[in-house]
């Protein structure tokens, strides 16, 4: 019977070794004690002696190859014996798993039950809702498998042992050291690692938490946080975002704001803010640049005739972007009123969920001016193609004409756009349009 030759493990911290020299060729006759090959770690060099006799049937690695420890390097047996069962894909890890099972249970590997097709639902659920047997949970910890990523095939979708075993099998193999670390520290082993053949190494695990120590707190994400996380991540992953910055002379803006404040204090009505004025200007710009007022649908664009303006609102529960529909129909006063109304209902938590869908808006504005932010790169709410970030107002020296320089208030504008939908030039033209609208706002307070 053919015997595998395994890359020995020279110490707990060694994950792989490099074959420096083969002393035997395939087909050579091997006696017990013959030096098969020499190999080295980063610290020392070793020789591997044959532990069985026969013909060297197969070498799986060449000189210079880095071989994960405990992997099968070669096979010794009788001439003509098949080596397929050892081969191609190194099976060292699998072999070890079986060994471990034997140790724990004193039994052969059990049969894995075929999973009915209709039940192979990869349904990530939130951690609190996961149904999992104690045994599967224990196995998951042992193998470092994140149970949030796998579906259960037990009764009522419960994750049972076989699901963990299967997940462990499907995943890239990991080095014994990595497994040890995962077991001790209760870390998840990622599906793919940075080692040889995507092996998960100790580095992959140690990098999970660069700052070691116990002075941390694990806080579960709220559903809201999870949604925001998913949306933001999706946006950055799935589009080609970049940001242009400019600034607009804010003297008109501030004058209008001053008037509005006076009026409001004197006779009530709407307290029109700088943000309302900026939004008004943006709407006007969008009417002139419909290519920024659209949705990117992969193979097409949906261009809107109306402006449905999304406004980023900070609430206790997190960021929300409610929409004011048909904003282009509104006077400055009505716009101010509606923006305030949706923002308030977001804060109170009674906003109509339909108004929060990113598909409901055609363009969004995010204003961080109040926080003194001078420049930022807002993230687009897909499938919208652009978002305007509004920054704080800064007095800047400006040529007032006639060689006279003076300080003029400028408001910063950061336009993030999806390069898949818009090119740099039209985006810049649109941003310039916004600037002009702000500087030349034509409203009556």
């Amino acid at each position: 019977m053919a015997n595998p030759v395994i890359m020995p493990r020279q110490g707990q911290s060694v994950e792989s070794c490099i074959i420096s020299n083969w002393n035997k060729k395939e087909g050579d006759e091997i006696k017990k004690g013959d030096i098969l090959f020499s190999y080295e770690t980063d610290k020392a060099a070793f020789e591997c002696e044959a532990e069985s006799e026969g013909i060297l049937l197969k070498r799986f690695y060449a000189e210079g190859d880095e071989v994960p420890v405990l992997n099968i390097v070669a096979v010794i047996g009788i001439a003509g014996e098949p080596v397929d069962s050892f081969g191609g894909e190194p099976i060292g890890e699998k072999k070890e798993e079986i060994g471990e099972k034997k140790e724990q249970n004193g039994e052969e590997a059990r049969s894995i039950i075929e999973i009915p097709a209709y039940e192979v639902a990869l349904t990530p659920t939130s951690a609190g809702e996961i149904k999992i047997s104690p045994r599967a949970r224990k196995k998951a910890q042992e193998f470092g498998i994140n149970i949030e990523n796998i579906g259960g095939t037990g009764p009522e979708g419960r994750i049972i042992e076989q699901d963990i075993l299967r997940a462990a099998e499907l995943r890239s193999p990991s080095t014994p050291l990595a497994k040890g670390i995962a077991g001790e520290a209760g870390k998840f082993i990622p599906d793919m690692g940075t080692g040889v053949g995507n092996r998960v190494t100790s580095y992959d695990l140690l990098s999970q938490t660069p700052v070691a120590g116990e002075e941390t707190e694990i806080r579960k994400l709220s559903n809201m946080r999870k949604i925001i996380a998913a949306k933001m991540h999706e946006s950055l992953q799935n589009s080609a975002q970049l940001t242009h910055h400019t600034s607009a002379d804010a003297r008109k803006l501030l004058e209008l704001r001053r008037k509005a404040k006076e009026t409001y204090e004197k006779s009530g009505g709407e307290n029109i803010t700088i943000n309302d004025l900026v939004c008004y200007a943006v709407i006007r710009a969008l009417q002139k640049h419909p290519m920024a007022n659209c949705h990117f649908l992969g193979d097409s664009l949906r261009i809107f005739k109306k402006v449905h303006l999304g406004l980023a609102v900070d609430t206790e529960r997190g960021l929300m972007v409610p929409v004011v529909r048909n904003a282009d129909n509104l006077s400055i006063r009505d716009l101010a009123a509606q923006l305030k109304s949706v923002a308030n209902s977001c804060k109170k938590g009674n906003v109509n969920p339909e108004l929060l869908a990113s598909e409901a808006a055609t363009f969004s504005v995010s204003n961080l001016g109040a926080y003194g932010v001078e420049l930022f790169t807002p993230v687009i709410n897909l499938p919208q193609v652009a978002i305007l970030g509004v920054n704080t107002i800064i007095n800047r020296p400006t040529d007032l004409g006639n060689g006279v320089f003076g300080f003029v208030p400028f408001i910063g504008l950061s336009l993030t756009y999806d390069h898949r939908a818009l090119d740099g030039a039209p985006a810049s033209a649109f941003l310039r349009e916004i600037r002009l609208e702000i500087e030349n706002l034509d409203v009556t307070i």
Partner: protein, 822 residues
């Protein structure tokens, strides 16, 4: 009915009449002058002293209970004290003529009897004998306390020992006669012939009959006195005990030296009240209790009423009754009329009786009137009597002081030795025979027809040709039980077996076929249909030192011996402080095909009770090995058998059932089939249902099931089961018991606790429905079927690809069934 006694229709159909003889009522009419011929002055005075000791002992208890003080000595006793103040003449009269080899059994109100019998024994024993008893009891620890500073003779020391041992027992002290584990209502001291007193009214009614059986079968001298109250006449076990004791066969069928009535006297300490119910006049209808004897047998049980307020009358009556028993004409019945002046217990406000009544009986007080007689007839002076009272009070003060001293008389220390009681629950001994002697048998074992027949049988279910052997040629489960039993009959001369249809018929399920040919009546006999007495007498037989094997024909009849199985059999070893053993095996056959009252598996009921060992073998190999262990041990074992599989062959033990003797340890489950994917734990005959299910699992779903046969319910070693669950992660438990509260639920819960992290699904129990057992034709809807097991696995443990369920075991259905209690 044995074939040698034919029932002749001409004879039994003939007209005639039953005539009753006369039953004496208070016929004693001697005066002291006449009694002087029988009693010396010392005897007369000793009778007085004994009554005074009993009285003062209970007066002391009464004061402690009601005022927490006796002559300035303070103590609080939270436990019971059922006093018999007023009944002293009855107790002393009862014990006066009894030898040490005569045993008394009692009730919850037996302090007086213990002391009376103890004082009588001390009087009869020579000093060496008495000293030996005291020295050897619990290594002399009880004696040491009273010996310290004792001045006086050994008999006086004996009295101190008796008072201290009894009081220490009542106050739950380790120096008590039963290590404080019996207490007031159960205290006893076998070296003086005082056997268990019983807190269950009438509890001694059948146990004492078993003691009489022990005396008779094992040729022991002495009689048994069953001291029970008048109200116990309303209890079934008392009637059953009386029926058992008066069986005709003792005189008609038992042979030679065993011929003749049982040496038992039912002595009703008739204080005329059962707690607060007036027996004559309210709760019973016998008018005079002694009348009962007339209905029992032609001898009318030699029944008689005696005036229990006159010690000399009681002595006289007991002397005569004892003679009757020694002449083998028992059983006898005495109605010892007395009166309890004290309440039933200290909380008794005597609302059920008038002040006038109590005062009238106080006027007739047995001690005062007897003392007056002694003075009037010049036997003692008033001063002498007063000195006895004063001396007794001093003795009592000393006893009380010693008993309540925490250093001298500590309680069993359960802090220092937390398992002290655990260690007394079972005696766990391995004993070939309970006593040396010749085993009385009718033929050599090898000549027994059944033994010969079994020799021709195939001891494995497959023949040498690998084919299944026919039922007739197969060594069956019933053969395994038989082999173990007949073996023991030839080893242990004390072994007796009885129950319904045990003789001639060969047991209702042919387990005993062939035993009748092997054994005389005094070792194997038919009992009346009295399950209470069947088990109760076995308890009495076992506690006296014999080994008994009794049978409850159907598990459903366990209810008929509820008290005997739940309160008596399991408890006496530990309640005695390990003084007595209980080598009793109760065979219980679980039925099938016979509907709702003949097919239930009630193993959970007995497994719940601490102090019983419970086994349920399902293969011939296990049945023989477990019966051998049960009969080798000294503990009570409930041995379940299933009528479904009496004829099953041995399918698991390689090489078949060994011919020789071997034991299977009680409490060890057995892996009947190895597997990797799922564990199935079975109790009883569902082993075979599980085998079928396992075959289906392998065939259809490629799952390998490991099958473990529990074999025992209690004790039970969970280790092999946990090891299996650690391997498979999944376990299903199944038995024929109705699911709700079945023992499997206990097991499932324990497994969950012990193997939680290894479980891949909750342990699932598949038992029978919570219904009456329907007719045989509908049993498949009631008892677990292989399909049900698969359904449960599919729905609760691991979905089986393509499996279609046939039973409804969804969570909603489970909730619904529980909601409706079905």
């Amino acid at each position: 009915m044995p074939k040698i006694q034919n029932i002749d229709p001409a004879k039994v159909r003939k007209p005639s009449q039953i005539t009753f003889g006369k039953i004496p009522v208070n016929q004693y009419n001697k005066n002291i002058e006449q009694e002087k011929e029988l009693f010396t002055t010392d005897d007369f005075i000793r009778i007085y002293r004994d009554m005074v000791i009993i009285r003062e002992f209970e007066v002391m208890l009464n004061k402690i209970k009601t005022t927490n003080e006796y002559f300035g000595i303070k103590y609080n006793h939270p436990g019971p004290a059922h006093l018999s103040i007023g009944q002293e003449a009855s107790a002393v009269g009862m014990a006066y003529n009894l030898n040490i080899s005569d045993y008394i059994f009692g009730s919850h109100r037996s302090h007086g009897e213990i002391l009376a019998k103890g004082l009588s024994a001390i009087h009869q024993l020579d000093e060496n004998g008495l000293m030996n008893i005291m020295k050897n009891f619990f290594g002399g620890s009880t004696l040491k306390v009273v010996e310290n500073g004792h001045q006086g003779n050994i008999k006086e020391l004996g009295v101190k020992f008796l008072l201290y041992g009894t009081l220490a027992e009542i106050f739950a002290r380790e120096n008590g006669f039963n290590k404080g584990l019996g207490g007031s209502m159960h205290a006893f001291f076998t070296p003086f012939g005082v056997y268990p007193n019983n807190a269950i009214v009438g509890g001694s009614g059948d146990i004492s009959v078993g003691a009489a059986l022990y005396k008779k079968v094992n040729r022991k001298s002495g009689i048994i006195v069953c001291n029970i109250g008048d109200a116990s006449m309303g209890c079934g076990p008392v009637w059953e005990g009386i029926s058992f004791a008066s069986m005709d066969q003792f005189r008609t069928l038992w042979q030679g030296e065993f011929k003749g009535g049982l040496p038992i006297l039912f002595n009703f300490m008739n204080n005329q009240y059962g707690m607060g119910g007036q027996t004559c006049g309210e709760t019973m209808g016998y008018d005079i209790l002694a009348r009962i004897g007339a209905g029992v047998n032609p001898e009318m049980m030699h029944a008689e009423r005696v005036d229990g307020y006159n010690p000399l009358a009681v002595i006289d009556a007991f002397k005569r009754k004892k003679q009757i028993l020694e002449d083998r004409k028992g059983p006898a019945l005495l109605d010892t009329l007395t009166y309890r002046i004290s309440g039933h217990s200290p909380s008794d406000s005597s609302s059920y009786r008038s002040k006038e009544e109590i005062e009238a009986w106080e006027k007739a007080d047995c001690i005062v009137s007897y003392g007056n007689h002694l003075v009037n007839f010049g036997i003692a002076t008033r001063d002498q009597l007063d000195a006895i009272v004063a001396g007794t009070i001093a003795e009592m003060k000393q006893t009380l002081t010693l008993t309540i001293d925490e250093k001298t008389s500590p309680l069993l220390n359960l802090v220092k030795d937390p398992e002290a009681i655990s260690d007394m629950m079972f005696s766990n001994q391995s004993v070939d025979r309970m006593e040396e002697g010749i085993c009385e048998v009718l033929t050599p074992m090898e000549e027994n027809p059944r033994v010969k027949q079994i020799k021709t049988k195939e001891r494995f279910y497959l023949g040498k040709d690998g084919k299944a052997v026919s039922k007739l040629k197969q060594y069956q489960l019933r053969d395994g039980i038989f082999e173990a039993i007949i073996d023991r009959f030839y080893k242990d001369p004390t072994l007796v077996a009885y129950g319904e249809e045990n003789r001639d018929w060969g047991g209702a399920f042919a387990v005993y076929k062939g035993l009748t040919e092997a054994l005389p009546y005094n070792r194997l006999f038919n009992s009346p249909i009295s399950e209470g007495a069947i088990v109760g007498t076995a308890v009495g037989y076992g506690m006296c030192g014999g080994r008994a094997l009794v049978e409850i024909m159907y598990c459903d009849f366990l209810g008929r011996c509820g008290d005997e199985v739940f309160n008596q059999l399991p408890k006496w070893q530990s309640m005695s402080g390990n003084v007595i053993k209980m080598p009793v095996v109760v065979r219980v056959s679980v039925g099938s095909k016979y509907g709702a009252q003949h097919s239930q598996d009630w193993s959970a009921l007995v497994a719940h009770i601490p102090g019983l060992k419970v086994v349920f073998p399902a293969t011939p190999y296990d049945a023989k090995g477990l019966m051998n262990s049960a009969l080798q041990g000294t503990d009570p074992v409930i041995f379940f058998e299933s009528q479904r599989i009496y004829d099953i062959g041995e399918m698991f033990h390689e090489g078949g059932v060994p011919e020789g003797y071997y034991e299977i340890p009680i409490g060890e489950p057995d892996v009947k089939r190895e597997g990797n994917d799922l564990t199935i734990l079975t109790i009883g005959s569902t082993l075979y249902t599980a085998i079928k299910a396992a075959d289906l699992l392998k065939e259809k779903y490629n799952l390998s099931a490991e099958i473990i046969d529990a074999r025992s319910l209690s004790p039970f070693n969970y280790e092999p089961v946990i090891a299996s669950v650690k391997k498979t992660g999944k376990i299903l438990l199944t038995s024929d018991a109705s699911t709700r509260g079945s023992f499997l639920k206990e097991m499932a819960q324990t497994i969950t606790e012990l193997a939680f992290d290894y479980l891949d699904a909750p342990p699932v129990v598949v038992g029978s429905r919570n219904w009456i057992v329907p007719a045989y034709e509908m049993e498949n809807s009631f008892f677990p079927q292989p399909d049900w097991l698969l359904d449960a696995i599919h729905e609760r443990i691991i979905p089986l690809k393509g499996h279609t369920v046939t039973s409804n075991i969804t969570p909603n259905e489970q909730i619904r069934r529980n909601k409706y209690g079905v």
